[in-house]
């Protein structure tokens, strides 16, 4: 093939133009559709994030089935506590209205660890107007119970003063009569 003095340059330029055009078309085809509606991002990503499944579903859906706990919980001092914090997220328990798993119920030493996350006075920075705290095991000694006692042997976990108030009431009635 006979080549003129600039045929290689022409071919290079042609090649670069084809490369650029193909690249541009490829870019237009593969760019996501909703890109740039609000800004330099895919606008659909907002709705996708909004549609993410909720795993925690507040206390409301728990109460209709767990009526006994519900009764205690809503009248007790722990009424602001989330069921799901101690027991785990609703999504691990009920899916599409059907029970799919058991949520754990803390027992024994676990209860003590759980209660002291909030109520341990040894951790300073727990203001009295926010939370009532105790020092262990001094609290057990004060109340004249065994040091092996777990918290829930005196305090009902869902309504901490429930038994204590009842006991006090019973005692005062006795005293009066």
């Amino acid at each position: 093939m006979k080549s003129s003095y600039n045929s290689h340059v022409k071919r290079i330029i042609l090649g670069l133009v084809i490369f650029a055009v193909v690249g541009f078309i490829g870019k237009e085809i593969s760019s996501p559709k909703s890109f740039g509606v609000y800004g330099h991002y895919r606008a659909d990503a907002i709705q996708e994030e909004a549609d993410r499944d909720m795993r925690h579903k507040t206390n409301t859906p728990c109460l209709p089935c767990h009526t006994h706990e519900a009764g205690l919980h809503k009248n007790g001092l722990h009424k602001t506590i989330s069921c799901e914090f101690c027991h785990g997220p609703m999504a691990d328990h009920i899916t599409s209205g059907i029970k799919t798993g058991e949520l754990p119920v803390k027992k024994g030493e676990e209860i003590r660890v759980l209660c002291l996350r909030c109520h341990n006075r040894a951790i300073h920075a727990r203001p009295g107007d926010v939370i009532k705290t105790v020092v262990m095991p001094d609290h057990l000694r004060d109340k004249k119970v065994k040091e092996t006692h777990t918290c829930n042997q005196c305090h009902h976990v869902h309504a901490p003063y429930n038994y204590i108030d009842q006991a006090k009431q019973a005692l005062s009635i006795k005293e009066a009569s």
């Binding site: 909720m54 925690h56 209709p64 909030c118 920075a125 203001p127």
Partner: protein, 274 residues
Amino acid sequence: MDREKPELNEERRTFIKKVLKGTIAGSLLLVIPLRADDLETSEQIPEHIPEQIPGIRGSEYDMSRHRFVFIVDITRCIGCGSCCVADKREYNVPDGNYRTWVERYIKDIDENIYVDCPNGGLDGYQKPREDIDRPVRDTFFVPKLCNMCEDPSCVQVCPVGATFRSPDGFVLIDSERCIGCAYCIQACPYSVRFLNPVTHTAEKCSWCYHRVRRGLLPVCVHVCPAKARKFGDLNDKESEVYKILSGPGVITVLKRDMGNSPSLYYKGARREVI
């Protein structure tokens, strides 16, 4: 003990009555199996869960009409770590990465500051720190989460537009576009970002955008037993956050000199908090 039972039963009866009267539709939703399409809507928009942020449900959600802020009240935080636990569960955050965490600050009488945050505060703070020789003057907890900056560094540096600030002010991540370069992690002055070891894309706190759009509080705010975390719409003059921010209290943001203008405010933060 004998006295407890009748009282309890009575309580139970009234409760059931209330439930039947008040939330009969809601409770039935949970008990009676539903058709698939009903289920979908009931899970997407949980109408049976009472609204926690007024003005979201009902009419069409208008992104330009809201200005959400988050306030952390350091004087109320007790360092229980409920927020961290709930957050980890809500998003199945892999171990060793934190969308939110709670730091413990200790100041001794010589004004030395000791900060720690074992396991991001997930296990709570069960014991006082034992490696401090001098008497402790002050202890406080500082919860950390995404600052939702008005001028976010992460959005500025993301090379592909995979992280962005939505019209309603949330800095979110498009995990479909993220290439996992970690530039945003370098750029975030608050270190709230991490590379998810499962998806290999960047991740961070979203102030539970999916809950907010359903009219519910972020999960950390919802579970906080001490009301140390507050969330709301500043455009709603009745909201608690509006009252706090327009009130006389001292409100600060973290690393103000960075110039990112966070929408996360701290109430009662000492000057040592970084």
